[in-house]
Amino acid sequence: MTVVNIQADTKLHLESPFLPAPAEIVRKDRLNDTETLYQLRLADGTELGQLPGQFVEVSVFGIGEAPFSVSSSPTRGDAFELCIRRVGDVTSALERLALGEHIGIRGPLGRGFPLEQMRGRNVLIIAGGLGIVPLRSLITNILDEREDFSNVTILYGCKTPKELLFRDELNRWQAREDIDFRITTDIAEPGWKGNVGPVTTLFRRLAVDPRNTVPVMVGPPVMFKHVVKQVLACGIPEDRIILSLERRMKCGIGECGHCQINGIYVCQDGPVFTYAELKRLEEAML
């Protein structure tokens, strides 16, 4: 076909929303059997400039692309971190890459947590399983700007103690006086002295001020179902309950249709939503 070079021919300035920027793997920490924490730096030296709750599309060329939440806080310098569970093609290929090798990054994408609206208020963070990954960004940011927030409560639940991520940080958070940090696991293991039971069990012993608390939760759909019920029971209005959804997505910019639930696009309108925005959407599976 007669391919015209559009760039040269017209005044149109063409951009590809699919063009990733190269980023170097500067650190790789194995956290678990399946999770690895990657520290990355954009090759052009710029900062990613993410908001907590935003995600990036990661390319391993020849394998494909997949979305991952940024796990580090914008308050922490020019490198950024992704915590990735090995489940398939892209995530396995990532593991095979060595330090110094490059991957492609698109983003930050999507709508992050409403940090500004949270300032000056009580924050109640509820993480289930891998949900801690995006929330780690938010938590670190809040702790780095601790004076901007009132009471900070963090609840973190996992299936087993083995699955708890970021252990060093957990210990540090636990040691802090200015936050209330609690952990639970569904199943106990020998040596586990902490709470046993789902995240909701941590909730019972909590005094929540419905007028001034912003609950933020990320976790599996089952967790949402139960936690939302409890938060609502505390009297917190629907439009102040914040949650983040996960859907498979191919573009991350509201074109490909895969992450669409009813009329909204998780990638573009989310992944962070208020409960009020989602509650009537059957496909949100809440």
Partner: protein
């Protein structure tokens, strides 16, 4: 699982043939433009159609054909034990293809028709697809396999990625090809039931789909049957139509 070949620089490939027409192996030899490159990527160590020498040490095994006798099944099990990854080539191996037509009738009678009194010389049992006998890691579909599919599968495995395989039915590709639909011509077609990947080749050449790639991931079988009946097929004819390539019944 698909990362398994990553430890080898030039994985060793063995190609085995059971009951088949050898057309899928031939398709590999038909890669005239790519064969030399392919030989740089892998080392064929067992490929009877093309080579005299052979070896029992291989990483990737490709099995062509259906299982028609116990010795075939035994061969599959040996291959499964020796190889790191096992894949199948073509419709005979999956869903069961033309050899499986035999299952539609009566095996003993079939032997009798072809070989007369000496039928018992050629003991054989109902025709099985390879995955009814051993676990299969991937499959290259088609009757014969498509050359492009084969290359995509090979490169995917060499990169440690799951080989691509459409989950949707042939109609998807047929509409994109802007073909006249067999149903519109008053004929019938197994396109809505059958896994895509062929680019709707047969309908594109004015024919219909016979189902050579087996069912798509999620066919609406009841609606499909109703559609065929509406277009004049009896339940027996529908069963016979499906049996052409899909003559092995899988457990639900």
């Amino acid at each position: 699982m698909y990362e398994a070949l990553q430890v080898h620089k030039r994985p060793r490939v063995a190609i085995f043939e059971l009951a088949s027409c050898a057309g899928c192996q031939l398709q590999i030899l038909n890669l005239e433009d790519e064969l030399v490159d392919v030989l740089g990527l892998v080392e064929f160590v067992y490929f009877k159609e093309a080579m005299s020498n052979s070896s029992d040490e291989y990483d990737l095994a490709l099995i062509e054909g259906s299982v028609t006798r116990e010795s075939d099944a035994e061969k599959c099990r040996t291959v499964r034990e020796r190889a790191t990854l096992v894949g199948t080539l073509g419709s005979c191996a999956y869903p069961v293809g033309i050899p499986g037509l035999k299952n539609h009738g009566d095996v003993e009678a079939a032997a009798g028709i072809v070989y007369g009194e000496k039928a018992d010389l050629f003991a054989s049992h109902p025709v099985l697809p390879v995955d009814a006998v051993i676990d299969v890691d991937f499959r290259v579909l088609g009757c014969p396999i498509d050359k492009k599919d084969f290359l995509e599968t090979l490169t995917a495995l060499l990169l440690g990625r799951k080989p691509p395989s459409p989950t949707y039915p042939v109609c998807v590709e047929c509409r994109i090809a802007e073909n006249s639909c067999a149903f519109d011509r008053g004929e019938t077609c197994l396109g809505p039931f059958t896994r895509a990947g062929c680019g709707a080749l047969c309908p594109s050449y004015g024919g219909r789909c016979y189902g050579c790639r087996g069912p798509a991931d999620d066919p609406n079988v009841l609606s499909m049957q109703a559609l065929l009946e509406e277009h004049g097929l009896t339940p027996e004819q529908i069963a016979a139509d499906f049996a052409l390539y899909n003559g092995y019944e899988r457990g639900a």
